[in-house]
Symmetry: C2
Amino acid sequence: MPDEAAGRDHRTLPRRRGAALNSAIFEAVWAEIAEHGYAAVTMDGVAGRARASKASLYRRWPGRAALVLEAAYDAMHGPESVPDTGSLREDALAVLRHAARQLNGPVGQALRGLLGETLQNPSVAAEVREYTRGNVGRVMHAIIEQAAARGECDPALVTDRKVEAGPALLRQRFIFSALPLDDDYLVQVVDEVMLPLLGVCPDVVAGDP
Amino acid sequence: MPDEAAGRDHRTLPRRRGAALNSAIFEAVWAEIAEHGYAAVTMDGVAGRARASKASLYRRWPGRAALVLEAAYDAMHGPESVPDTGSLREDALAVLRHAARQLNGPVGQALRGLLGETLQNPSVAAEVREYTRGNVGRVMHAIIEQAAARGECDPALVTDRKVEAGPALLRQRFIFSALPLDDDYLVQVVDEVMLPLLGVCPDVVAGDP
DNA sequence: ACGTTTAGAGAACTAGACGTTCTCTAAACT
DNA sequence: AGTTTAGAGAACGTCTAGTTCTCTAAACGT
């Protein structure tokens, strides 16, 4: 009879399950993205790096898109809070800065890849679009309502197109430019587009003597 | 000795070259896109449908993206002209309508797929971005300069962000919505965003008694 | 403590697309 | 007519997506 080591083949290492395995898989996804970008994320690669089996991956997610999407959700922990500084300008900047911080990091890279996936194969995910669009738009509406309640802007001026304009500029730049979203850009979006559209602070921009 | 038919194998059909072959290949690309969308375009599929060889395809284009991109260029024949109706509102509507007509058709489907490709693999094509961004932006700048020269808007108000806002809304809707770009949307973009940003026609929208 | 059920590791396998390369031959050129 | 160029068709090697198999550790019962 062999000693106890002989009974242990290469599969006898401690085996993770449930949440622990999930976390290990998400970590592997981020490592793959960080190393060679979204395009380099393959199911085999993630499984290998996480020391998980492809069967385990496919038991949890139907494909790469669903996996990366859940990894992104996981990395963003928690719904976005609505800022309330008492000034529309500061609220708007806070919203855009929060979005920019996410989009400039690994989560942004993942979302770019996922958006690419949905553009090529529209059947894959209305879900991705929901996220990318839903959050910022909802919060933007909320801070504008706050401003209208304070009398800071005229509620009659508020339309869907005007509310969407700022976020649309942010997204355009995120999608079409490889450069990070810098703060100057966000300030321009707020001062040159969002506030003028709502009739706030007609072209008096801070910093000009 | 067999008769003359025996010497003709299945390769003996008339053989196209140069521009004629190019056109046949482009037609095949559009047929494939129309049938099952961008995702279904494969080099094998296009070659088969065009009765061309894959070798001929790869001699002309390095890959699928380059092929579809050139097919799109080919379908758009000619650079965009700058409208000059004498009214900024009409000029802007003309530009957006021209863009929308393209984007609502098969060319739009191709561009969506190509954009998806570049988002997943940024190395592929700065070229695609150039097109998608370049044209509308350039023409938009031109009509605004015309309007400023007529005294229709204040040149001091014109900034890059303001000029980009309208096109950004168009693109956002193109990218994130599967629905076609309808004319109501374009009118809203012009009347609620573009003109107010440039200080034209402050909220007097036609059609309201 | 023991037995049953669940779920993970690892590997083999199929199928589809990419991109390459080969041969044979029609079209274009001189 | 003879030469060169370029296209048709097919075979091939590779990669990735998914699936399915066996074996076994972990979780959960009694």
